[in-house]
Amino acid sequence: MSDLMLEVRNLQASYGQVDVIRGLDLEVKKGEVCVILGANGAGKTTTLRSISNMPVVNSSGTVIVDGVDISKTDPGEIVNKGVAHVPQGRGTFPELSVLDNLHLGGYIRKDRKGIEDDVQRWFDYFPVLGERREQAAGSLSGGEQQMLAVSRALMSRPKLLLLDEPSLGLAPIIIENLFKTFAEINQENGTTMLVVEQNANLALNIAESAYVLETGAITMSGPAADLKDNPAIQEAYLGA
């Protein structure tokens, strides 16, 4: 058994004539937080969507999760392979209640008792969600929706959590708390996380390894601490 949770080999993706991802390789070790940094349009979201086989026009390459090839797996089956994906814009069910959203997160599970325990666990973790359990998800604030999106994803007890720009549209203080939470969840549950971010500073703080994506290809990779000290990264992504 390898110690890799996610292995991506030679990933290619294009929308029509436009190549978005051109031969991308990626490795995420079990239990670590890995971050992909990149500017707008670098192909971050497309990379995540290709991994979980969501509608991306023409993607090819190999995606292996915990030793299982999921390159050809239907997006509806991805969660059964242990992958939970929090898409950009949170991907909650806005008309449904907070509670319904969480139950949907556990849709593939059969253990009723365990599901209710987990719901309670996330309500304890994010008390504001518990207070608003009957409220429509769409009426929550951006930060609360992101909490809900993450809790919902974790309800399936995934091995690998894909987070697509969780900081998008949130206030700095909320982003900071959110990233602290990611680190906590990672340490408590050992959930492997692949986070795609523009907000390099916070992401590099909680990550063990990092990749830099520029116009569809990896241009730099290594331990997060190294990248943080790299002058080129500091200039491009940390605003130093």
Binding site: V79, N80, G91, P94, E95, D100, L104, G105, S156
Partner: protein, 303 residues
């Protein structure tokens, strides 16, 4: 006074039929954000299936025949969705709407070919002789009307319980809210679409079975009913089951009262010849002033 009461009773019982068909429309709209213009014709076909099992070929007990017709219609609906609707991109509404219009004409022609266009008498599920009524303040509440109202109530209850108390219902509401995220949590979206069409066609058939004794069964029977149901569904909000039920009743009442009283005035007497005018005006008014309907959800999303 008894005339007013009578018109209210008649309006509500007709309205209950529109409500049943309106709920069928809403079920498909919620699953696919698509107005299924073939809904009425598929229901009409179901009405003929009922006729086959109840009268033409088998003379089964009426409730059994209605049940068989509903099950067969559900299967027909699943097939139509799978073969004619699903292959097309659901985000692109125009082609799919045109396809449902195509299904409208195909089903109508096929029914006309099999059963011809001659209107036929069909037995009612409920006693409907001239003396099967209860007197209320001088007005007559026929058992038939009462049965139709009770059917609507039961159907609403069944749909409500399925949608709110079952895992299938939760998945249905999820797909209706966010299809992409539904896939990500592991819902088989295709199965949910099948379920939506099956339920809609079964309930549409129930509507046809209820209305057939009043209108006489013919391939063109459901076209006006569809207009009433559409007006009702739009009034209540195309994504609200309860709204559709109320909308259908409102359309029935409106029709009965407007046609009953307004046509007594000379200037409006021509309304008698155009009974579809009131629901059409209602439809336009609602779309103009409150496009999401009285009970529909407005887009609630905060970024």
């Amino acid at each position: 006074m008894d005339l007013l009461l009578q018109r209210i009773i008649d309006g509500l019982s007709n309205g209950a039929i529109y409500a049943v068909v309106a709920i069928a429309l809403v079920l498909i709209f919620k699953a696919t954000t698509l107005v299924n213009f073939a809904q009425g014709e598929l229901a009409m076909f179901g009405g003929f299936l009922f006729y086959v099992f109840a009268v033409q070929a088998y003379e089964l007990p009426l409730l059994v025949a209605a049940f068989i017709a509903m099950v067969l219609s559900a299967l027909l609906g699943v097939t139509v969705e799978r073969v004619l609707v699903r292959p097309f991109d659901p985000q692109d509404h125009l082609p799919v709407v045109l396809i449902t219009l195509g299904i409208f004409y195909i089903v109508n022609a096929v029914a006309g070919d099999i059963w011809n266009y001659e209107p036929r008498a069909v037995p009612s599920l409920f006693p409907n002789n001239f003396d099967d009524f209860i007197s209320i303040g001088g007005a007559r509440l026929f058992y038939d009307s009462l049965g139709i109202l009770v059917s609507l109530g039961l159907m609403y209850l069944v749909v409500y319980l399925i949608l709110n108390k079952t895992k299938m219902g939760l998945a249905f509401r999820a797909v209706s809210s966010n299809t992409e995220s539904s896939r990500l949590v592991g819902i088989r979206v295709g199965r949910i679409l099948s379920f939506g069409w099956a339920a809609a066609c079964a309930f549409g058939t129930l509507g046809a079975v209820l209305v057939a004794p009043r209108l006489l069964l013919s391939p063109n029977m459901m076209a006006p009913v569809l207009v009433y149901a559409l007006a009702g569904a739009a009034f209540g909000g195309l994504d609200s089951i309860g709204g559709a039920a109320i909308g259908g009743l409102v359309v029935g009442l409106l029709n009965s009262l407007v046609l009953g009283y307004l046509t007594d005035i000379d200037a409006f007497s021509s309304f008698r010849a155009t009974p579809l005018l009131p629901p059409m005006l209602l439809l336009l008014t609602v779309l103009w002033f409150k496009p999401s309907g009285m009970f529909g959800t407005k887009q609630i999303e905060r970024v």
